[in-house]
């Protein structure tokens, strides 16, 4: 497929979204094939229930179909846009269900797996996943925990402080330290997405 090899991945994704905004259902299918696995993993991680996760996933892609023309490439890459929309929808559903304890329990289980991702399509994508896992595992456990509670659990920093039993200031410090470390360690991968 000449177009796949000529366009860098990021430009390819933006081209897909542009076609979706123009009403191209085939492009929506291709976008789905590219991102469904990652988005479903994220939604399942947050909600703990595959059926709920799939409902969120459907909402996300219908949202993408309706609002592709609202995507701003200066704010984020296409992948980040989809991931953050997925997270937002999943957290909304999680908060309405109020199953905080179950999600916190699953958070501690998920992070320790370091299996190779099934279905990685390119050397670049597989390498990026490996790097993110590697850097996440390098974080001190207490920093990784507060970051995951915030990101996957939808906890506010005040709630994290209560959950973990530490001062609010400590939660903020640990979260910011974790993000700064990851931002520096993954600088190359993040620049690829600019």
């Amino acid at each position: 497929m000449p177009s796949e090899t000529q366009l860098p991945p990021r430009a390819r994704e933006q081209e897909l979204l542009r076609r979706v905004a123009g009403g191209d259902a085939e492009a929506l299918g291709e976008l789905y094939d590219r991102f469904a696995g990652t988005l479903n993993a994220l939604a399942t991680r947050i909600l703990g229930d595959p059926a709920d996760a799939e409902e969120v996933l459907q909402e996300v892609f219908v949202h993408a179909w309706r609002r592709a023309d609202g995507y701003d490439p200066t704010r984020s890459s296409v992948s980040t846009w989809l991931i953050l929309v997925t997270r937002s929808r999943a957290i909304d559903r999680l908060r309405s269900r109020r199953v905080v304890e179950r999600t916190a329990g699953e958070a501690r289980h998920e992070v320790d797996r370091h299996e190779s991702p099934a279905g990685a399509r390119r050397v670049q994508e597989g390498e990026r996943r490996r790097r993110v896992r590697e850097e996440m595992s390098r974080l001190p456990a207490e920093q990784r925990r507060v970051l995951e509670l915030a990101y996957y659990g939808g906890f506010t920093q005040t709630e994290i402080a209560q959950e973990v039993g530490i001062p609010l200031g400590t939660v903020k410090t640990r979260t910011l330290l974790a993000m700064r470390k990851l931002r520096q360690a993954l600088r190359g991968e993040l620049r690829d997405l600019l």
């Binding site: 430009a11 123009g22 696995g37 459907q58 179909w65 200066t74 993000m179 993040l190």
Partner: protein, 350 residues
């Protein structure tokens, strides 16, 4: 290399990261990065932190959803496209104008239009269902010859007959007006369709310009960071030369490595596009016979390829570098294909 003191950089990072975390806490996607007075470093930091929030889930194993979900998503999109494309109100107008019975007109059309259409048909000798009452001509068709009707007809005052005639004429006029209105609405529909097509074309062109501008900005940021690295005091260079006899490529490369620190940047010029199904992979040689992948090199529009990284993949000392041709789409841990470029020396530049 940095323009701010460490403390200033740290406080700016904390400010940007805290703002993004606050947005996440509210359950919403982070809004636009700070564009306060064109504060470029804040914008770049905010964008980097936004992308960081987007790569965190890559640490999870992919989880393909059920096959039915794809069908549901595409069906939902198809349903919406059908509703938008058909415009059911507009599609019904031509049928209504032909005198379909019992169909209420769409909003904005005179309610009597359907009746008038039927009456107009009656005037042409077609339908009789909406005839308002016995008139001079219609009377014969409605059984005027029956003995029971004859005495009443002769007693109907002239004023009633005149009123009936006026009403009939008014209804005919309304029918004519409805026909005219339908014609105007059709013309308006065509104009709207033309304008919509022009708008979509303009939006596509504007989007293309926006994408081009975004690419230029990204290249500018890349060039700025690369320039910063190659001009750092103590930077080392590992030249990459063609491998093979005869050489397998006409390309040449330079790998820059900051020293101290482990930031790296490689640029390969005159790199031909790889054969179909293959990609160029950069390798760092660690020790005698151990290689670590650095990434895929993709020739750009100027036949140059470049990659960069914040640090070397491992803590070991790099003894050389190589570029090989590998099969695309496969996960590989060591070089397997033919070597295209290699470098085995490090030279301090400044």
């Amino acid at each position: 290399m940095t323009h701010d003191s460490d403390d200033e950089l740290r406080s700016r990072e904390e400010r940007v990261a805290e703002r993004l975390l606050g947005a996440l806490e509210g359950g919403e996607a982070p809004r636009a990065p700070a564009r306060s007075g064109g504060d470029e470093p804040d914008e770049l930091l905010a964008r980097l932190y936004t992308e960081l929030l987007g790569v965190l889930p890559l640490a999870l194993d992919e989880r393909p959803p059920s096959p039915e979900l794809r069908e549901r998503v595409l069906a939902a999109a198809s349903d919406e496209a059908t509703v938008d494309a058909d415009g059911p109100r507009r599609a019904e107008f031509p049928e209504r104008a032909a005198g379909r019975e019992g169909v209420g007109p769409a909003a904005g059309s005179p309610p009597a239009a359907a009746v008038a259409a039927g009456t107009a048909g009656a005037a042409r000798g077609g339908r009789r269902r909406t005839a308002p009452g016995p008139g001079p001509r219609g009377a014969g068709r409605h059984g005027a010859g029956s003995p029971e009707q004859a005495p009443r007809r002769t007693a109907v005052p002239r004023r009633l007959a005149a009123a009936a005639a006026v009403l009939a004429l008014a209804l005919v006029g309304l029918g004519v007006f409805a026909g005219w209105l339908h014609g105007r609405l059709d013309a308006q529909d065509r104009t709207i369709a033309g304008l919509r097509a022009s708008l979509e074309e303009t939006e596509r062109r504007a989007e293309a310009l926006g994408v081009a501008q975004d690419d230029l900005e990204r290249r500018r940021l890349d060039l700025a960071s690369q320039l910063a690295l190659v001009s750092t005091p103590g930077v080392e260079v590992c030249p990459l030369r063609p491998a093979g006899d005869p050489p397998r490529t006409g390309a040449l490369g330079l790998l820059f490595l900051s020293n101290p620190g482990r930031e790296w940047y490689v640029r390969v010029a005159r790199l031909e596009p790889p054969p179909e199904g293959q990609v160029y992979v950069l390798w760092f040689q660690m020790g005698e016979d151990r290689y670590v992948p650095g990434g895929v090199l993709e020739p750009g529009y100027d036949d140059a390829a470049q990659l960069s990284g914040a640090e070397m993949p491992t803590a070991e000392e790099m003894t050389g570098a190589a570029v090989t041709l590998e099969r695309a789409g496969e996960r590989i841990e060591r070089p397997d294909g033919p070597m295209v470029l290699f470098g085995d020396e490090r030279v301090g530049m400044l």
